[in-house]
Symmetry: D2
Subunit: 337 residues, 4 copies
């Protein structure tokens, strides 16, 4: 190679998104994780908290002042990035996997998250990093990225290119594996025994990813997510009324225009994708049908919520920021069975 790998810090490395950043970067030829932090487990080998990573790194306490890296992945709870990102982005590239900077209207944030935004003056405001919806240059130029939420990623990749076709309110009925809840939800509700063999809706009218989808789409949506007894995966099923005359071919055409040359979006024209196909992969698979009887298109979008919906897209953003080919070090193939 000759090229020196860039140095990455993973802030909050023991949760599901943080450890996934570490896992994916362990196969990245141009980046290397040198710092992993944990608030509660500092001093412990990463191997103790995350034995699957087979890593020799040791967890450190986070210290904003002394942190040195080319890029920092912030994988902490809500509020952390508000506190540290504004200063950190002056010294290194920052990719925030939380929701702190996803909503550009402070009012929206405060309404949906029910708390004040303490970094409303942050400048430059992080770029919303849905890679396929931005010019590569915009991400390349960003000092900080607000990495999109998992449901918005799956939903926007399907809906965003269709603005000229939609005539009415899209109904987004989404389903997610349990890892979306994170690793620290140590409540009865998330026990294996409470979830195995059952499924249910949650956040039926008030899920916080709703305004994120609406902001990027410029359009109101009806959104309800469900919890599915699988570890990973999001399937967003979108029932969308099309304008008169439009049909499946228009949907496929719009997608093909939008995603030409984008390695991670696959347009499936035969059969319906399972989330299992993208387990561990950074791909998003799209498929569509048209229901003539009701005039709705039905869009299906599947991703791995921890990869394209979190850590993988974060690394895709890193690739774009550092001028690497977009797909460097990111898996295309899913783990099956």
């Amino acid at each position: 190679m000759g090229q020196q790998p860039i140095v990455a810090a993973v802030i909050g490395a023991t949760g599901y998104t943080g450890s996934e950043v570490v896992r994916l970067l362990s196969a990245h030829p141009l980046a290397q994780v040198c710092t992993v932090t944990s608030e509660r487990q500092a001093g412990r080998p990463l191997r103790g908290a995350c034995p699957w990573l087979a890593s020799d790194l040791v967890l450190e306490p986070f210290d904003a002042e002394s942190l040195e890296a080319n890029v920092a992945f912030l994988c902490q709870e809500a509020g952390f990035a508000m506190e540290f990102l504004p200063a950190l982005q002056r010294r290194m590239r920052v990719i925030d996997l939380s929701a702190d900077f996803r909503l550009s209207r402070i009012d929206d944030y405060e309404t949906w998250y029910g708390r004040p935004h303490t970094a409303a003056q942050c400048k430059p405001w992080p770029v919303y990093g849905l890679c396929e919806s931005k010019a590569a240059e915009e991400i390349a130029a960003a000092t900080a990225i607000a990495n999109p939420g998992c449901y918005p990623t799956a939903t926007l990749l399907a809906l965003a290119p269709l603005s000229d076709l939609i005539d009415g309110i899209p109904v987004v009925d989404a389903k997610s594996g349990v890892s979306g809840a994170g690793r620290s939800k140590t409540e009865t509700d998330y026990l294996f025994t409470e979830l195995a063999g059952g499924f249910k809706p949650y956040g039926v009218t008030g899920h916080r990813h709703t305004p994120e989808i609406e902001q990027e789409l410029g359009r109101r949506v009806r959104f309800t997510p469900h919890l599915i007894p699988a570890a990973r995966g999001i399937c967003s099923t979108i029932h969308v009324p099309l304008r008169a005359g439009a049909g499946r071919a228009d949907v496929l055409g719009a997608w093909q225009s939008a995603y030409r040359d984008r390695p991670f979006v696959e347009i499936r024209t035969e059969g319906w994708p399972s989330t299992k196909e993208v387990q561990g992969s950074n791909r998003c698979v799209l498929a569509a049908a048209f229901d003539e009887r009701t005039g709705h298109a039905v869009l299906v979008s599947v991703i791995d919520n921890l990869v394209k919906g979190a850590a993988g897209q974060a690394i895709q953003n890193m690739n774009l920021m550092f001028g690497f080919p977009e797909d460097t070090g990111l898996p295309m193939a899913g783990l099956w069975p």
Copy 2:
């Protein structure tokens, strides 16, 4: 007591609906299974094909002429009931768990099932047995019942009472455990390894339960089902535009009127039900929210597809036909965890 139990025959006892009829009747105080049939395994102890039933019955070949019973549960593939129900209902009560007689318009059947209906002249035409939507007398008077499909049961229990409130096309996004596919789908697609850990839509615009829902509702719906990695359960999530001025209270009020005194429909006003709560139970749990932003009500209906969605409702119909209390011998409590 003192009452002699009625005698039931289960035709096609080794599949999931047939064996569930046997299981449920084993705890029924007023009915007893005396005949179990199987096309392929006649002569074998039921215990060999279905060890979980711990039964001493022996599988017999089906012989329409010689069959004697007070009630026959037809749990066979499509087409079987068309052939045998018309004659059988002259000699005993018949409850058909297939789709053969669910659609009363022959055209609908032939369009959606893609085959001719060979018993279009059947008289009397079996009564569509969604217990809670019919007067008890109508079912009591029936000689044959077309037992509803699993998705229609969950969906209609939520939607049917709301006809005055709906203003637009309901979007029915349903999710089902894998047992809905039956026990004879020995294809790669239904292997444990292909389904565990993933989920996906199927029959996206053409599922055969669509016309069944529409027939009973008298209204067009947008319907898509999904396959979820669980053995049992259906969750029907229905996004329905309400007429101006209507809201959650109207939905709850309509349900309360419709289901007063019906033991198996529970209206949940706090929290959202999981399919796991009704595992093995004949209950249906309903819940609703109103999304002011889009003017949609969101209805959630969960059942066990093999119980309230098949064998349990069949027995509920039997109870009504024979004048037993509706809930005789049927489990209210679900199996958890």
Copy 3:
């Protein structure tokens, strides 16, 4: 009929064993739950804590003085029965589902549980209630029962009748669904995401069910349990060196002698049982092979850990205590699929 049902109290009704006692008794013709208690949720409807039970009972605080019932099921954490059983058994029958009184040698208790036994003087000492290993009279005469552990139940039903055949140390390699850990293990380790798709041993040499098995067997065993990604079920696989000349027929013969007329033990002579067959059932299925090459018999015993391994066996004990037929109100058929 005509018989007045006995009145049962379930102390600690919101955990997995307590709620299972409530569920099973809801179908029992001769007993009725009138009191359900909870330390933390007193005052709340049982339906709120355990929606699957569809119960109208309200959780009460436990008050030993005022409790009235014919039988109390103690479903609390370790130590609770030590405190309350000695007095309670003077006023009603008591069935303790904890381990407090399973070990009759106080030394064993203190060694394996690492804490003092505070009720060593309890008289009469509760009878160890492995129903099939005791004369019905002994249980009928007991004022209190120490209900066996789940692993000991599965293991002892297989091994206890074979004492004349064993020559060496039985290796008991057991596997359990996750519900064995209870409903209050709100630790990362028991999250759905940490357990789905994986399996592992635990308590490899020091599991507390070891001395319970050894006490009842009068013989040392090598015991290791494993955690399996299923909600319910125990499979105990026992590799046991037989004395020279003994083989499979001797094993089957010993079982047949021991379990003649016992409804809940099934000896399977063809095929190997899955835990799934006994899901929700009070049955134990036994099967055996002989490995001539090594001189070991291989015994397999499957139960539902929450039914025959806990709540079901507790009710079986209740039946015997009150002179009801042993299988009254207890399910034989398992829930499948």
Copy 4:
């Protein structure tokens, strides 16, 4: 690099081991899959049969004469390698993932597999490729490799180094995810609905991996496998009587000597590994305890049956055969959750 990648052919690419070879090689910097074959699906894009691979290859019929590659991975049913390997190994390196050449005594093969071995004269006889038990030179020099079975890999990595410590018959109680059964077992027994939520033993005294373990160990073992409701993973739990005086430290010492400098064997000294830690990884994690009460060591060995137990080890063998570093292109980190 400058180094030209070697060219690999995957014979039987649509099953679970074949597709896993393709998946793993897609991330290998020094090898490239150029030919994928399928008996039944020749002519179809690999993407159609295995959408998760996101591959542009097209399935070809297998033609031994015209096949060109540096290395061929044989991922076919039993008997295929007997027919083709002897000739193929004269023209390219061959790695056979079936059992055809694992047993070097033809008698053993015919006894346990119940069929004649039709290539008993094959020369050179393929080298048994348990990488960590062979000198790298021996594998490097081989023209053909008999890639070990999944249970033998997990079991032998634990037991092989302990020959001086064992005094008696090791009891190997193994558990496997369902993918071990392959992708073509389209029988009722392997349906999702039949397996989810349950677990059971199989092949209790006659599993064909028994003689493979015994051959490599030079010692008789008692072996029983179990089917666990997970897609991947093997946990081999081995209860082994140690010679007097030996204990845990001796076991750990023997492992450390054997696996110094071997990247894929991890010796865990705290806690017990779950199969989930090695999901998708080529690692094997070993742990041990000593049960003083019975004089047994308890060894635990976990692998991913499709990676270290099949496709990963096959590629590890390829690496050794072509002089690449042993761990080239093979994942260390597991997929979690």
